[in-house]
Point group: C2
Chain length 373, copies 2
């Protein structure tokens, strides 16, 4: 893992662990000495019993919150910090950049040490089991042998479930947010179409794009569809209504983007384009579709039995169309079959799947209650 001096200067908070030797991948193939990036907040207690491990959704980095090393706001800034719901005065909080991502962890945009070339589309099939094993490498490196809790929103919830199944007993408790045991075909259709948008951009060229031939259009369209699936009709109805601006009827551009909702999507998808590697997006998106708890047993129920936490909370949102509420309810029922103390929380947020990032008023108190803060 090399970075320019500037990187190191700006991101003193980002740390990495380099896996020693071979890292076999869940679906076949292997990586040689992959890097897993992570950040931490707070201090590990002398009893080493206060660590919380957070797996992220598809697109965030490990920078979940600001810190002395990196003052920029993180993706869960309001959730993590001194006296926040995840209280860094009390807990040692670890957030892992998923293996396969592009924020310090090894992924398709990294150099394969065996060839000296970028992996690109020759990266092996990525599974969320591999992502969870990346988290395992980080806590081993940090000397954490027992986690107070594992936390995962969205795709991170599936990585957290994989973690609990592959490493039973490592974690005392489990907080799953807006996630599920597997993707529904509706969600797979939406993600599959995003992948197609990228792969059909002529610039993608089977993953062999350069900075000059970046598949901008495919990424922009894919991100727009992603954003549509992350929010909700009710939220946008309230925020945008039928507001329009600009010339509606231009013969030069009869299908111009004039509705506010069209401009909003254009603005935010353009911001995303430079921030995420297209090949990494494809691998993580596909991993989200491939994951199924049921692959770890004869059924999802049998697989969930392997999870050895004493306590779990499963949180969902009524307006989520990507991981609909009934999936969290079903997961909570499966978790509740054992000796575990399980709470299912249904939140009335209107921001859809992204509510855990957008509706802090509803989410912070629930997470705080889980941690008894």
């Amino acid at each position: 893992m090399t970075g320019t001096k500037l990187d190191v200067l700006l991101n003193r908070a980002k740390k990495v662990v380099v896996v020693d030797g071979e890292f076999p991948m869940h679906c076949g193939g292997r990586l040689l000495s992959p890097t897993i990036a992570y950040e931490t907040w707070g201090e590990l207690s002398s009893q080493r019993d206060n660590a919380i491990l957070i797996f992220t959704g598809l697109s965030p980095s490990a920078h979940a919150a600001s810190s002395a090393g990196d003052a920029d706001s993180g993706w869960w800034e309001e959730m993590i910090g001194p006296d926040r719901a995840i209280d860094t005065r009390r807990f040692f909080v670890i957030c892992v950049n998923s293996l396969g991502s592009c924020f310090g962890s090894t992924g398709a945009a990294s150099i394969n040490p065996e060839t000296g070339q970028l992996y690109r589309s020759h990266f092996p099939v990525l599974s969320l089991e591999d992502v969870s094993r990346g988290g395992r490498e980080v806590i081993r490196h940090l000397g954490v042998e027992k986690l107070y809790a594992t936390v995962g929103p969205s795709m991170g919830g599936m990585s957290a479930l994989a973690f609990e199944i592959l490493f039973p007993g490592l974690s005392e408790s489990l907080l799953i947010i807006s996630s599920a045991t597997h993707a529904l075909p509706f969600s797979t259709a939406l993600r599959s179409l995003q992948r197609e948008m990228i792969c059909h951009d002529p610039n993608w060229s089977n993953g062999n794009y350069s900075a000059e031939t970046f598949p901008i259009t495919g990424m922009r369209l894919a991100r727009k569809l992603g954003m549509i699936t992350y929010r909700s009709a009710d939220e946008w109805g309230e925020r945008f209504g039928r507001e329009r601006s600009g010339k509606d009827f231009s013969e030069a551009d009869p299908f111009a983007l004039t509705f506010e909702i069209e401009k909003y999507l254009e603005h935010h998808s353009n911001k995303f384009i430079g921030q995420f590697d297209p090949n990494c997006y494809l691998y993580l998106s596909r991993a989200s579709d491939l994951f199924d708890v049921a692959d770890h047993g004869t059924s999802a129920a049998e697989a969930i039995e392997k999870i050895k936490v004493s306590r779990a909370m499963v949180v969902g949102v009524v307006s989520d169309i990507l991981y609909p509420l009934h999936q969290q309810h079903e997961l909570s029922i499966l978790l509740g079959r054992g000796e575990r103390e399980v709470e299912f929380v249904e939140l009335p947020s209107i921001q859809g799947h992204d509510s855990f990032l957008a509706d802090m008023d509803n989410f912070c108190p629930v997470v705080a209650r889980f941690f008894d803060n």
Copy 2:
């Protein structure tokens, strides 16, 4: 309107009316002598009081049902026919191909008589008000001065509302199915993205494609997104689950379509590609977003007051994400403010927006009740 002899032979059911002279468009511009295609079933009574006018959704032709002239099944085959919910023994049923479409009515794929060239992207901005006026031309041509009912599912429901507002008193009753007074920003986002997928296909070339350079990829992706918005997560969960086939993990194609839902979308979108003109799709899609009943008054409520039917039914489906149920409920409330007898029907179908095409068990009895059949 010219067709090859084969066309005429195969489509004896399709009839056309050619508008005499100029046809001014709602948003500006005009067409010269446009053609409106339609089909009819049953016979106009001697009192001329049994005609039903049907406006279609975005993509269907006027071929709503089979007949002696065209034995192929129509898009509402189970709904229209002798002793069916829309009983052709009793009613004279007229279905109109929307102006702007490509099944006999003048649209972007037609020749502009003033230039001798295809309109392509020089077709004027299309509005559903124009579509409704196409229907007006057809019934005038047929000598119908009073309609028993106007019927519109999906986009056709908005065309029907435009028709009732522009021509108050022409219709005795109104049946609106899975439609709304306007598009929500969420629905606009989904349609806007479909338009972008077509326009970003390099083959689209600002609408100047040929049969050899058809924007196949853009159309396929757009249709897939359309299909996703037309159905529901629950239906696909039941139908497809997590079924997969083929090689999951091919290094040659790491993002291959292997889930059954991916293959289903691929199959059906490929079927659609050859059947619909991309420019026509763009115009009709944009017209669906531009339409707003409220543009016909100081508010939607005031605009709806202009509608002079004595009776209306508004039908919606719980699983519809494109025109969600609350929109039909709101429309029924607005319609109910006058002297009209209005019924709101909420159906439990799981096939989403397309339920009116897919769930005949729930839909036929409701439509039959409206027509007292």
